[in-house]
């Protein structure tokens, strides 16, 4: 059994098949990219994996256990973290608070302990903070620690979202269009970080991406989708040379 497997998954909204019998598997330590034109069902697959949507049929399995029925708030605890295409940060909180929410799946203290701020809560808080500081250093976010998200530039928010996902110490990270809205320089930084996430932190990366140069630079394997169906999968160059993929993008 492999690290993460999607097996014949489908998602239907009324008469529309957003995801149609998609299967793939990701092995540990891989950078796996899903590409496809707009509306191909890439983000829908992410929402299925993070259990925001219920699949019409098919199974998801992670580390030998079936996660098709797991409630969404337990996915993070299993070791799957994600970012969002349109940035879903907690706008009116500081970056530090945002990253600490990323630690929530490791919170162990009970409500009454929190209310009285028992010594155990203080110890746990410091341990969380230490972990958060490691991530801040990893992604070079020191300058924004106490800044409120609402006032920060788009590029920084994008990195903060990756940071928040990393704070939960995932084994698999889902990046939904990490480079969208970033300029060339920021996209370069992002590509280095994605490789570092894999090589230094040992986290498997599953991402959706449109920027083909970024895809070519970082991915080990690529899966192309169109209208919810798998067109091709393989190495970046194989997929880009595939006639169906060219047809889907250029409309030949």
């Amino acid at each position: 059994m492999s690290f993460f497997t999607v097996d014949g998954i489908s998602l239907q909204f009324g008469g529309l098949k957003a995801v149609d019998d998609v299967s793939f598997s990701v092995s540990k330590g891989e950078i796996f990219t899903i590409i496809g034109p707009n509306g191909a069902g890439k983000t829908s697959i992410f929402n299925l994996i993070s259990r925001l949507y219920n699949p019409t049929s098919g199974r998801l399995s992670f580390e030998d256990s079936d996660i098709t029925e797991v409630p969404p708030h337990q996915i993070a605890k299993l070791g799957i973290a994600r970012t969002f295409q349109n940035i879903e940060l907690f706008e009116n909180a500081s970056m530090l608070a945002n990253l600490l929410v990323g630690r929530h799946c490791h919170a162990t203290t009970a409500l009454w302990q929190d209310m009285l701020f028992m010594p155990s809560v203080r110890r746990a808080e410091k341990a969380h903070r230490r972990k958060v500081e490691e991530v801040i250093e990893f992604l070079d976010l020191q300058a924004y620690r106490d800044k409120i998200i609402a006032g920060l530039p788009y590029g920084v928010r994008k990195v903060i979202e990756v940071a928040r996902a990393l704070c939960s110490e995932p084994k698999l990270i889902l990046l939904d269009e990490p480079s969208s809205g970033l300029n060339v320089e920021e996209t370069d930084d992002m590509s280095f970080w994605i490789r570092d996430i894999r090589s230094e932190l040992g986290i498997t990366v599953l991402m959706v991406e449109h920027d083909m140069s970024l895809v070519n630079r970082v991915s080990d394997r690529v899966l192309a989708l169109n209208y919810g169906k798998v067109l091709a999968s393989g190495t970046p160059s194989e997929v880009q040379a595939h006639p169906d993929v060219i047809a889907a993008y250029l409309g030949a």
């Binding site: 973290a81 907690f90 929410v101 929530h104 799946c105 746990a124």
Partner: protein
């Protein structure tokens, strides 16, 4: 301007961030303790109402300001606390038992009200809480064996360990102050813990919160329960302060006053709840004074400017008729809420922070510092 050099994670965890705050809050506490020996009994009584409103304000701040769940049903929670106190006391239960019991009971009811919040958002949740408030009002009016119905219920003098604490005594003032300080500390503890951050996460993005491992259902119910329990405590104090409670005291208008407390004070901190409570409690005597004085003042100015005596008297009578018109208070409240939402959405506490920053940065304060930015990237799709 003070620059704080951080060397320890504890510095970010502490409630009072630096030694200056120890001084200012210490002085504030000393002033509050000295107040009953200085101020007259009227002002002292008003301050007790400020404390009670501030306790409810803190409760509502946790629910609305931090969890983002609006409620117009807090008068009902207050009523449940008040009636629990009245009923338990008539059975001979001591204060030290029925005070926490009222909090627990109201908390349980709050958790039950929280369940619809799992599916309702925004205005629909507000409607659900209004419905709940009406149900409670109706139950209080009908359940005569416990509540004495519309006749109302007399609440006897508070008895703490066989020491009577009458409603206008210094001891009662200190009791309310103690509860307010205690509740504020609990709220501050909550907000610096994982639970408080989960509340903020629910307010700002439910989708992201869910993906970060926050059980939305559990935390919404927790937030409702905590908020209701704190309001229940305020209800006990309210019952003893009023010495008489009846269903028509806990109407929608009272719930609106509570919402005003946090809108006017600023819904993002305990300070806001207290500022708002001061404003709400003090605006009432102010309006009364205006109602009495303005017509006389206007007519005397008018007659001194040469207006005929009869016309001036008519003017005075017209003005006082307007002043005592039914519903004027509600209209003025509505106007105040609208003004605050339009011009100072962060409330009095937000204004205070801006003034403070102005002096800290003087002369370098920039007018655009707090200008709100419009953002267009927020997605509503995964709601």
């Amino acid at each position: 301007m003070r620059f704080i050099f951080k060397t320890d994670y504890d510095q970010d965890i502490r409630i009072l961030k630096h030694s200056g705050y120890w001084w200012s809050y210490g002085i504030l506490l000393a002033v509050m303790v000295a107040t009953p020996y200085v101020l007259g009994s009227y002002m002292q009584s008003q301050l007790v109402f400020v404390f009670i409103y501030a306790i409810v304000g803190v409760a509502l701040m946790i629910l609305t300001g931090f969890t983002g769940q609006a409620s117009l049903g807090h008068a009902a929670f207050l009523a449940i606390g008040a009636y629990t106190a009245g009923f338990m006391q008539s059975l001979g239960v001591p204060f030290i038992v029925y005070f926490p019991l009222a909090a627990v009971l109201t908390g349980v009811v709050g958790a039950l009200v929280g369940f619809p919040a799992l599916r309702l958002h925004g205005i629909y949740l507000v409607i659900a809480t209004i419905a709940f408030a009406f149900i409670v009002e109706e139950v209080l009016a009908r359940w005569e064996s416990v509540t004495h119905g519309n006749e109302g219920m007399r609440v006897r003098t508070l008895d703490l360990f066989d020491i009577p604490i009458p409603r206008d005594s210094d001891a009662f003032y200190f009791l309310c102050l103690l509860v307010l300080v205690g509740v504020s500390v609990l709220a501050l503890n909550l907000l610096r813990s994982p639970t408080g951050r989960a509340f903020i996460a629910i307010r700002d993005s439910e989708t992201a919160g869910k993906s970060m491992g926050i059980d939305l259902a559990a935390y919404k119910v927790k937030s409702f329960a905590i908020s209701a329990a704190i309001t229940g405590m305020a209800g006990v104090l309210f019952a003893h302060k009023m010495t008489f409670i009846s269903p028509e005291m806990f109407t929608l208008l009272l719930s609106i006053e509570f919402i005003m407390v946090i809108i006017i004070g600023g819904a993002f901190g305990v300070h806001g709840a207290i500022f708002g409570a001061i404003f709400i409690v003090m605006v009432d005597p102010f309006l009364t004074a205006l109602k009495d004085d303005v017509p006389v003042l206007v007519s005397s100015i008018a007659s001194s400017l040469g207006m005929a005596k009869e016309t001036a008297t008519d003017l005075r009578d017209d003005l006082s008729r307007i002043g005592s018109a039914a519903g004027l208070k509600g209209a003025i409240y509505g106007l105040i809420i609208m003004m605050f939402i339009l011009f100072e959405p962060y409330g009095l506490y937000g204004r205070w922070l801006k003034v403070k920053l102005f002096f800290q940065l003087f002369p370098l304060y920039k007018r655009a510092t707090f200008k709100r930015q419009k953002t267009y990237v927020k997605s509503e799709r995964n709601r």
